[in-house]
């Protein structure tokens, strides 16, 4: 029971209270880059969720290996290697099975490699001493938090096209203002305590 409560707490924190984008400011590049359309935002969110979950699982094993060999200091390098390989794998997978999503994601797909949210989640797993299940749950829910954020943001940006704001704010400025306001809104979750 305690295990389940613990996992729920991790889930809530990863999606709402400690949302990767709005409170940890990780993964802002694809968040701003691929959020012009809801469709591609959903695709990107799912891809990132997939990579984060898988990376958490694989990196947990790699980390165990490194710790046992006394090579803990190689974590970052090894994790980057794992993430790069995973992204490459997903890229091939998408190109074969979902070419439309593959073209829609464009350059941002290989850029998941350098998405700091992915490296962030695996490093936080180590820092928080999560076990295997907790790591995977944190990875997936962290990705879901990213998905939630980017989809909300994309739907706002779709509406912003029709909004009447000063010309000087066109493009990224208004997007950044929006993102800032959303981060403020998500701050409301920081006092969230259910258990």
């Amino acid at each position: 029971m305690e295990q389940i409560t613990n996992l729920l707490a991790i889930t809530l924190a990863a999606i709402l209270a400690n949302n990767f984008i709005f409170s940890q400011f990780l993964g802002c590049c694809p968040f701003l880059g691929v959020s012009k359309k809801v469709d591609t935002a959903v695709g990107m969110g799912i891809a990132v969720t997939f990579v984060m979950g898988l990376a958490s699982a694989v990196c947990y094993a790699v980390n165990l290996l490194l710790i046992n060999l006394g090579l803990g200091y190689m974590q970052t390098v090894a994790f980057i290697l794992v993430i790069a390989a995973l992204v490459q794998f997903i890229e091939m997978f998408l190109q074969k099975s979902m070419p439309a999503l593959y073209t829609a994601l464009g350059v941002y797909l290989p850029l998941i490699t350098t998405n700091c949210a992915v490296l962030g989640v695996v490093l936080l797993n180590v820092q928080n001493n999560y076990n295997f299940i907790e790591s995977v749950v944190y990875g997936i829910t962290g990705g879901l938090g990213f998905l939630l954020a980017i989809v909300l943001f994309a739907s706002i940006r779709e509406r912003l096209v029709f909004a009447d704001y000063p010309k000087a704010f066109d493009g990224f400025p208004i997007a950044l203002v929006t993102a800032g306001l959303m981060a403020l809104a998500f701050m409301g979750f920081s006092g969230l305590k259910v258990w």
């Binding site: 790699v62 290996l65 490194l66 060999l69 006394g70 090579l71 190689m74 390098v77 090894a78 290697l81 794992v82 390989a85 490459q88 794998f89 091939m92 997978f93 190109q95 074969k96 099975s97 070419p99």
Partner: protein
């Protein structure tokens, strides 16, 4: 020491394992590409100049394959490669003469300046400051936006401060034409040598006052041309390259040296003398004919 070896071995093994997995995955998830795309790509210029309007040469190749771009979309590749691409696509080779870019301004130092511009050395920036430092609204600013846009080293700023094209290096990719804020650069047939080096559409007096080399639309060239190949349109002379034979008569009568290659003063004098002699001869013949008719009557 063992630590270092451990580190190298562990990372190496990890890398090898991932590499193996990826190699297997690439076989499983292999996407069959149209082999023609690679072939078309090999016939494009490969400079990624963007002159075709697609993101890079690969984008252009995909567009040609999809039929959304013509087989000769890549101007730098030239007619030979366009024909090769047409063959790949099963189409007929497009005909057409090689075109090169030409800068329709010979002003430079001859153009009058309104003020000294000391900002960023870039034509677009210069036009943003009080509509540019030149009196002439159609003149080459000479800050070389086209020079930096050219991937083939064909553009340079000439001796008098206006941009010039090296027709041997030019591939007509269109990058300079897009870069020029005054739209002074146009495509002309490479074989034609006579061009109007001015784009000033102002009325005669206004055009005269802003530059020493401006076309004032006087129409002398139009009258001189034996082939009906040059006309004043919208206040500036324009050559019809289908008709022009390159006799350069227009350059000899242009009072502003706006048609390139400009004739020297000597050549002009010579031509004037010939014309004068011809006119005198014609007048004498006419007078003689008149006298003859008078005598008969």
């Amino acid at each position: 020491m063992t630590n270092v070896i451990y580190a190298i071995v562990v990372l190496g093994v990890l890398g090898a394992v991932f590499g193996l997995v990826l190699a297997i995955a690439s076989k499983i998830f292999e996407v069959k590409k149209d082999p023609r795309e690679e072939e078309i790509l090999s016939h494009l210029a490969g400079a990624n100049c963007g002159g075709c309007g697609f993101p890079g040469c690969a984008g252009c190749a995909a567009a040609i394959l999809a039929g959304t771009a013509p087989v000769n979309a890549c101007a730098p590749a030239g007619a030979e490669n366009a024909a090769a691409i047409a063959a790949i696509m099963g189409q007929e080779a497009p005909s057409g003469e090689r075109q090169v870019a030409y800068v329709r301004c010979n002003g430079g130092t001859n153009a009058k300046k309104r003020f000294d511009y000391v900002g960023v050395k870039d034509c677009i920036s210069a036009t943003k400051v009080a509509a540019g430092p030149l009196e002439c609204a159609f003149g080459c600013l000479g800050f070389g936006s086209c020079v930096s846009a050219c991937q083939f080293g064909a553009m340079s700023i000439g001796a008098n401060g206006a941009a010039v094209v090296d027709p041997d290096k030019c591939t007509n990719c269109g990058a300079c034409m897009a870069a020029c804020p005054r739209k002074l650069i146009v495509s002309v047939p490479a074989s034609k040598k006579v061009h109007v080096a001015c784009a000033n559409r102002d009325k005669g007096k206004a055009a005269m006052s802003v530059c020493n080399n401006s076309c004032i639309g006087c129409g002398l060239c139009e009258k001189e041309c034996k082939k009906d190949a040059i006309h004043v349109e919208n206040g500036v002379a324009v050559i019809d390259y289908d008709k022009c034979v390159g006799c350069k008569l227009c350059t000899k009568v242009c009072p502003r040296d706006a048609i390139q290659p400009a004739a020297t003063a000597e050549e002009k004098e010579k031509y004037k003398a010939i014309k004068k002699a011809q006119a005198e001869k014609a007048a004498a013949a006419k007078a003689a004919a008149q006298a003859e008719t008078a005598e008969k009557a």
